[in-house]
C-alpha cells in the first residue's frame, strides 16, 4: 500500500476526531486530494493557496542560498580585516567556496529549522484546538523569518518570537487570510523591541562577532546604514556593485539586490505579487531620497548634523542597501495585509517606500525602517481601500445623477444600451 493511500485511510479513520486536521494537513501537503466536487459548475484553477505559497518560496530560494554563502564570506572577511589582511571579493575566487557554504549553512539552517518547526507546531496546535484545517500560511512566513534576522540571533529568541508572531499576529485574528499585520514582520518587530541588543549595532551582522567582541580576535561588521548613521560613510570600503550584488553585511537574506530583483520579476510574471505595489514603493523611496538629497544640496544640513550621513546618501542607493528591496518585493506585496484595490496599491506602496527612507534617516536608535513602515501601512491598508471604494462609488453616483438619457433614435438594443450608459 502506498503512503498516499495509507494517509488517506488514516484520514478516514480519524474523520471527526480532534486529530483529523493534522492528518489532513500532511495528506494535502503531499498529494492532491482524492475527493473532487461532484456537482455544479466550478472554476477550475491550479493556483491554490499551496501553490501560491510554493511559488513565493521558490522565489526565496536563491536569496537563501546567497545568504548562506554571504554569511560565511562575511565571517571570514571580518576575520581577515581584523588581522589586517586586505580582501577583494571575487565571485568564484573567495565567495562561492565550500568553506563559506559550510560556515553559512551551519549558522543559517538552524534558523530555518527552528522557524519552521516552531511555527508549524503552533499552526498544528491551533488547527487541532479549533478543529479547522491546517492552513498553508506559515510556509512563506517560515522562510521569510530566517532571512530577515541577523545571523547570530539566538535560537530560543527566534522560537519565542515565532510563537508570539504566529499567535498574536495571526491566530488571534482567525488564522491565515484574516491577519492585519504581516506575521513575519510581527516576529521581526517583536525581536527588535524585545532584544534590541541582538538586532542592531555593529556586532550582530557577522557570525561570531558578538562572541569575539572585546577579545584579541575581535571582529566587527557594521552595515552600510550603520556607517552612514554615524557619519562614517568615508570609512566604508563597499562599492556600489558590492551593494547591488550583496557582498555586504546585513540580515541573512536582505543583502543581494540583484537576486531579490530576479525573485521579484519571477513573482510578477507568475502573477503572485502585485507589480503596482513594488513600483510605487520604489517611487516612494526615490522621492523621499530626492527630498533629503535636495535638503543637503540646499545647504540646510551641514556635515556636523547627525543626519548628514544618511541624508547625503545618493537617493537611488537607498534601494540597494538594507532591507528595503527585500521588504518591497517579499513583504509589502503580501496579498492579505496589503491594499486590495488597484488604486489603493499605488498609495500603499508609495507610502511604504516613502516612510521607510524617512524612518531610516530620522531614527537615531536603528538605521532601518522598512519593517516599521510596512507594518504601519498594513494597519492603514483597509482605510486606503475604504476611501478608494468610496471614491469609486461617489464617482459612479455622480455619473448616474448627471447622466442625460438620450432618446433612443432607433429600434435596436444597441441604442438603448448606449443611452443607459452615457
Amino acid at each position: 500500500m502506498s503512503l498516499k493511500s495509507n494517509l488517506h485511510n488514516l484520514k478516514e479513520k480519524y474523520k471527526g476526531k480532534k486529530m483529523a486536521p493534522a492528518f489532513n494537513a500532511i495528506h494535502t501537503f503531499l498529494y492532491a486530494p482524492n475527493e473532487t466536487t461532484h456537482s455544479g459548475s466550478h472554476v477550475r484553477a491550479v493556483d491554490d493557496l499551496k501553490r501560491t505559497m510554493n511559488t513565493v518560496i521558490m522565489a526565496l530560494v536563491p536569496v537563501l542560498i546567497f545568504g548562506i554563502f554571504n554569511a560565511g564570506y562575511q565571517h571570514y572577511a571580518a576575520v581577515d580585516a581584523a588581522n589586517g589582511v586586505v580582501r577583494q571579493v571575487s565571485l568564484f575566487g573567495n565567495f562561492l567556496t565550500w568553506e563559506n557554504f559550510i560556515m553559512g549553512a551551519w549558522t543559517v539552517l538552524p534558523l530555518v529549522i527552528v522557524s519552521y518547526a516552531v511555527g508549524l507546531a503552533v499552526e498544528f496546535l491551533f488547527a487541532v484546538i479549533k478543529g479547522h484545517e491546517v492552513e498553508e500560511g506559515y510556509l512563506v512566513t517560515g522562510m521569510l523569518v530566517p532571512l530577515i534576522v541577523p545571523i547570530d540571533t539566538p535560537l530560543w529568541m527566534l522560537a519565542v518570537a515565532v510563537v508570539f508572531g504566529v499567535v498574536i499576529g495571526k491566530e488571534v485574528f482567525g488564522g491565515t487570510g484574516m491577519n492585519i499585520l504581516n506575521p513575519a514582520l510581527t516576529i521581526r518587530a517583536f525581536l527588535f523591541f524585545a532584544y534590541p541588543t541582538w538586532m542592531s549595532g555593529d556586532k550582530v551582522w557577522v557570525h561570531q562577532a558578538v562572541d569575539l567582541a572585546g577579545g584579541p580576535d575581535a571582529i566587527s561588521g557594521e552595515t552600510i546604514l550603520g556607517y552612514l548613521a554615524q557619519n562614517k560613510g568615508a570609512e566604508m570600503s563597499y562599492s556600489v556593485s558590492d551593494m547591488f550584488f550583496g557582498f555586504i553585511p546585513g540580515s541573512v537574506g536582505e543583502t543581494s539586490t540583484i537576486l531579490i530583483l530576479l525573485g521579484g520579476l519571477f513573482l510578477i510574471f507568475s502573477k503572485i505579487a502585485s507589480w503596482r505595489i513594488m513600483v510605487s514603493a520604489v517611487i516612494g523611496a526615490l522621492v523621499m531620497g530626492l527630498i533629503f538629497n535636495g535638503v543637503v544640496d540646499a545647504g540646510w544640513i551641514t556635515e556636523t548634523s547627525k543626519f548628514y550621513g544618511l541624508m547625503s546618501f545618493a537617493f537611488w542607493q537607498h534601494l540597494i542597501v538594507g532591507g528595503l528591496a527585500f521588504g518591497i518585493v517579499y513583504m509589502a506585496t503580501d496579498p492579505v495585509t496589503g491594499a486590495q484595490t488597484n488604486r489603493g496599491k499605488w498609495f500603499y506602496g508609495f507610502f511604504i517606500g516613502f516612510i521607510s527612507v524617512l524612518i531610516r534617516v530620522f531614527n537615531p536608535a536603528y538605521p532601518e525602517g522598512v519593517f516599521l513602515a510596512i507594518l504601519l501601512m498594513n494597519v492603514f491598508a483597509p482605510t486606503i481601500d475604504h476611501y478608494v471604494v468610496r471614491g469609486n462609488i461617489n464617482k459612479r453616483m455622480k455619473r448616474a445623477k448627471n447622466a442625460t438619457i438620450l432618446p433612443s433614435d432607433g429600434e435596436g438594443k444597441a441604442q438603448e444600451l448606449k443611452a443607459e450608459t452615457v
Binding site: I168, F190, P196
Partner: protein, 215 residues
C-alpha cells in the same frame, strides 16, 4: 449569621472574575498599561484605588439622598479629588521613591473610569455598607488584573519580582542568564501591557464561554 449574606458576597466576588472591571467592562485600561512595568507599583496602585473607591463609595452613598442630581458629577469629582490627594500626600510622605515612579498616575486615579462608574452605577442607589463592599470588590478585581500584569511584566521584562533578582543577575551572568537568557525589553513597553491584557481576556473567555458576546 454569617458575616456577609450571599448577595453581599457576590458584590465582592463577582468583580474578581465574571464581571471584572478591566477584562469584562474594559475600564481603567489606561493605568493598567502605564504603571504595571513593576509589580510594586502595581500593588501600590491597586491599594490606592481600593482606598479611594471604598471610601468614595461610602461617602457618596451616605450623601446620595442630598446630592442634587444636576450637579452630582461635580460632587463626585470633589469626593474623588479629596481622596486622591490624601493618597498622594501619604505616598509622598512615606514612599517618596515609589510616588516618583507612579508620578502623575496617582493624580490620574481621578479620571479612572471605574471610580466614577461605580459611583454612578452603585453608590447613588445603595446603602453605605453594600457600597463599601462593591467598592472593595471592584477595586480588588482591578487590582488583581494589575498585579497579574505587573507580575509578568516585571518577571519577563526585568527578571525581578518586587526588586528581587529571581532569575539571576544579568550583569554578572548568574542563574538563568548564565545559559544565555535575556530580559524581554518589549515587556517594559506599554504596547506589551495591552497585549498581556488581551491574553488575560482571551484565557478568561475561553474558560467561561458565557462571557463571549454574540456578534
Amino acid at each position: 449569621m454569617a458575616l456577609l449574606s450571599k448577595k453581599d458576597t457576590s458584590l465582592i466576588l463577582d468583580p474578581l472574575a465574571d464581571n471584572n472591571p478591566i477584562t469584562i467592562q474594559v475600564l481603567g485600561i489606561c493605568s493598567a498599561l502605564a504603571i504595571t512595568a513593576e509589580l510594586k507599583a502595581s500593588i501600590v496602585m491597586a491599594l490606592s484605588v481600593m482606598f479611594v473607591l471604598g471610601m468614595g463609595n461610602v461617602v457618596i452613598s451616605l450623601m446620595r439622598n442630598i446630592i442634587p442630581s444636576k450637579i452630582r458629577i461635580i460632587v463626585q469629582l470633589v469626593v474623588v479629588a479629596a481622596l486622591v490627594i490624601m493618597v498622594d500626600q501619604v505616598l509622598k510622605a512615606f514612599a517618596y521613591e515609589l510616588s516618583k515612579t507612579l508620578s502623575v498616575f496617582v493624580g490620574l486615579i481621578i479620571t479612572n473610569c471605574i471610580i466614577m462608574g461605580r459611583f454612578e452605577a452603585f453608590a447613588l442607589a445603595n446603602g453605605p455598607w453594600r457600597s463599601f463592599l462593591d467598592g472593595i470588590g471592584n477595586s480588588a478585581g482591578y487590582g488583581l488584573i494589575l498585579i497579574i500584569i505587573g507580575f509578568f511584566r516585571e518577571l519577563l521584562g526585568s527578571g525581578t519580582l518586587l526588586g528581587f533578582k529571581v532569575l539571576g543577575d544579568p550583569i554578572e551572568k548568574t542563574g538563568l542568564y548564565a545559559i544565555g537568557y535575556e530580559n524581554n525589553g518589549f515587556m517594559l513597553l506599554s504596547p506589551m501591557a495591552l497585549i498581556v491584557v488581551g491574553l488575560i481576556i482571551w484565557v478568561q473567555r475561553s474558560r467561561n464561554k458565557a462571557l463571549i458576546e454574540e456578534n
